[in-house]
């Protein structure tokens, strides 16, 4: 029988790589079998649709198709960038994302640290169940709940003894948007950190207790190092999505009176593309959004790698 080397045999880096390549070559059929479906799906649903980017450079007419439509080059981009509302949409999008990231990103981490402190497994399970549940509510239902709670006759006003219509206040939009997002997503997002925290050595925690570390110092010395890499990867991914604020929630929480704060690039793209039928222009705006995202992702990854001993994506 032919002896097959282990994929990660002991030895130097180059010999490891060599063994891995030999292993792959000997079992190529297996790799093809597992990778082919994912590869095909990625090509069909991720790469082929990229051809649609060309719409951004045309005066797109669905009857004539991409190649039959008039080629306008960067006209749509120029139109968007020179529009008087461009800066407002961009800033609204950025503010919503950046503040969402600032408030929303640490929330699941803090939640995971707190959950990790609960000793009773049963209590922990019950709390986790309660925390995860909002994630399964659809965005539209969530927005409905928010609208009801914040209406002039809603629960919040009843508790405060006021009759303010929060949904008409541009200054309240971002807080409503971000807070409801945290309420809905923090529990679910904490799963990944809770799982990473389970890797923190129990003995190490006990050693820290004997060393005299308080809870904050224990988190710093034991728990944070256990989840640091996961946090960094999640952070890079989140920064990469900083401009991808989903239009549904912003659109569902939008009212005519809060448009000043709630009109963001994605709601604008939706309105222009689907409601006004200006496909070329909305694709150009969407592409602009994506390019900014890619630039942010690459720069943040480079920054994190520099700060974290070369570890990044």
């Amino acid at each position: 029988m032919k002896k097959v080397p282990e994929p990660a045999a002991a030895g130097g880096g180059s010999s490891k790589m060599h063994n891995t390549l030999v292993y792959i070559r000997q079992h190529w059929q297996l790799y093809v079998l597992f990778m082919l479906p994912a590869f095909l799906l990625t090509i069909i649903f991720r790469y082929i649709p990229m051809g649609g980017i060309a719409i951004a450079f045309t005066e797109y007419n669905p009857i004539r198709g991409i190649f039959g439509s008039e080629w306008v080059g960067f006209e749509h981009f120029q139109r968007f960038l020179s529009s008087p509302d461009f800066m407002r949409y961009l800033m609204n999008t950025l503010k919503l994302s950046v503040f969402g990231l600032l408030w929303g990103f640490p929330a699941p981490i803090l939640l995971a640290f707190l959950l990790n402190r609960i000793m009773s497994a049963k209590t922990k399970q019950k709390i986790q169940l309660v925390l995860y549940m909002p994630n399964f509510i659809s965005v539209i239902v969530l927005c409905g709940i928010v609208r009801i709670l914040l209406s002039p006759t809603g629960l919040v006003n009843s508790l405060l003894g006021t009759s303010t219509n929060f949904m008409t206040m541009p200054s309240a939009f971002r807080t409503i948007y971000i807070a409801s997002g945290i309420w809905q997503g923090a529990g679910w997002a904490s799963i990944i950190y809770t799982a990473a925290l389970s890797n923190a050595s129990k003995e190490l925690k006990e050693a820290a207790v004997i060393d005299g570390a308080n809870i904050i110092q224990q988190i710093k010395a034991v728990e944070w190092p256990a989840i640091k890499d996961t946090v960094l990867i999640q952070f890079i991914m989140s920064v990469g999505n900083i401009m991808s604020v989903g239009f549904e929630k912003a659109y569902a929480l939008q009212t005519d009176l809060n448009l000043n704060a709630s009109e963001i690039i994605s709601t604008y793209v939706y309105k222009k593309g689907l409601l006004d039928g200006d496909y070329g222009f909305s694709t150009a705006v969407g592409l602009f959004n994506t390019v900014i995202n890619v630039i942010l992702l690459i720069s943040m990854n480079a920054l994190v790698k520099k700060m974290n001993e070369g570890k990044g994506i």
Binding site: S120, A121, K122, S201, E203, L204, E206, A207, A208, V209, I210, D211, G212, A213, Q217, A221, V222, P225, K228
Partner: protein, 399 residues
């Protein structure tokens, strides 16, 4: 850390008990139904209160004494150590360190240090930072921290690794760092929970010797947990042998080897394990004899005096004789050879004597020829090395 340290640290454990209460639902599940016939409890450690891990644990540890807790897995030795460390709540009894009751004192305030089996080093810190961590938390001045860390590193010969991270060290080096981290605290009591279990046999032997040397240098009170009786015998001033949460015997290594308190201790201490036989103890005035398989020998005067002091009468007993105290002879108890293991300086002869497996250690120098499978041999033993255990209680009748 310094040999001239003046701190006194006696440790007293008075009737210490540890019960892990049933978690909700578990008790209900275990509760027998009213109409169900009462079942005999197989595991005595499970009570209505919960699972009893340690009970009736009484031990006085003298200042600078090296105590080893030894026993099989689940006997409660680590739980006891963790109670001393403050990592487990004490369900009953009193823990007194240096004259102060410590039951409810936080681990950091007990003036103890602990070395863990898996080293428990902070992976993102260098060796220096690991060793300095507890001192930093105590807000000691930087120069004091530096002095203490470098002194400990010198003692443990790890000065050259101070800037490395734990992942760049071997198992033995990591364990040295773990010990270093403990000794910089200059603790009154040093607790070690199976610190050598993760090392290979060769390194374990080396580290054992290192711990003996370390003990001479740092001169503090040690509590050491192990399941390895060789470690227990070589390191401890006294050994505490535990089983099912109870102390079986406390004594010096020589005492527990020469006078095991019961069958468990007799079987646990010593390698290869003690041979046991169904035998008869015969009393003839002040003289005592043991009879097994037609062989009869008189016990030595010291044993006879102890048995007489307890007025032990003739009775069926379990006789224990260590393999190294069993001699091949021309006459005596007859047995058939099953396996002969050549160990170099001796041969471990596995024989069958009346259905019992018996091991005889024969020094190679005394061998008259090779032993073959099925050979008949005879063996004897002297009255000084025969241990007599009660058939009813498994206790050594000398006690």
């Amino acid at each position: 850390m310094c040999p001239e340290s003046e701190s006194m640290a006696t440790v007293q454990l008075k009737n210490i008990k540890k019960v892990y209460p049933f978690i909700s639902g578990e008790q209900k599940k275990n509760k027998k139904k009213a109409d169900e016939p009462e079942k005999k409890k197989v595991n005595l450690q499970i009570t209505d209160e919960g699972v009893v891990a340690v009970q009736a644990f009484d031990l006085d540890i003298a200042d600078k004494e090296f105590i080893v807790l030894v026993g099989p897995s689940g006997c409660g030795k680590s739980t006891t150590l963790r109670m001393v460390a403050g990592l487990e709540e004490i369900s009953g009894g009193q823990l007194i360190i240096d004259g102060k009751v410590m039951n409810d004192v936080a681990p950091k305030d007990r003036d103890i240090a602990m070395v863990f089996q898996n080293y428990a080093l902070y992976p993102h810190m260098t060796v220096y930072e690991n060793m300095a961590f507890s001192l930093k938390l105590r807000k000691e001045p930087k120069d004091v921290i530096d002095k203490k860390v470098r002194e400990a590193a010198e003692i443990l010969d790890i000065t050259q690794y101070l800037e490395r991270k734990p992942k760049a060290l071997s198992g033995g080096q990591r364990q040295r760092v773990a010990i270093g981290r403990a000794i910089v605290r200059d603790p009154k009591v040093m607790l070690m929970d199976e610190p050598l279990s993760n090392l290979d046999a060769k390194l374990r032997n080396e580290m054992r010797a290192e711990i003996i040397k370390l003990r001479q240098r740092i001169n503090t009170t040690f509590m050491y947990v192990t399941h390895d009786q060789t470690e227990a015998m070589t390191l401890g001033d006294r050994i505490v042998i535990m089983k099912d949460g109870y102390i079986q015997q406390i004594g010096t290594p020589q005492e527990v080897f020469d006078h095991p308190a019961n069958l468990f201790v007799a079987g646990f201490i010593g390698m290869p394990v003690m041979n046991f036989f169904d035998a008869e103890l015969k009393r003839d005035g002040k003289k005592y004899f043991v009879e097994v398989g037609g062989y009869r020998t008189e016990l030595d005067a010291e044993k006879e005096a102890r048995l007489a002091a307890h007025d032990v009468q003739s009775q069926p007993i379990t006789l224990g004789v260590r393999p190294e105290h069993t001699d091949v002879a021309d006459a005596g108890i007859s047995a058939k050879v099953e396996v002969a293991e050549m160990m170099g300086s001796s041969v471990h002869l596995h024989v069958n004597a009346g259905g019992r497996d018996v091991i005889i250690i024969v020094p190679t120098i005394d061998m008259k020829g090779n032993y073959k499978l099925g050979d008949t041999v005879h063996f004897t033993f002297g009255g000084r090395v025969a241990h007599v255990f009660s058939k009813e209680t498994d206790k050594n009748l000398e006690f």
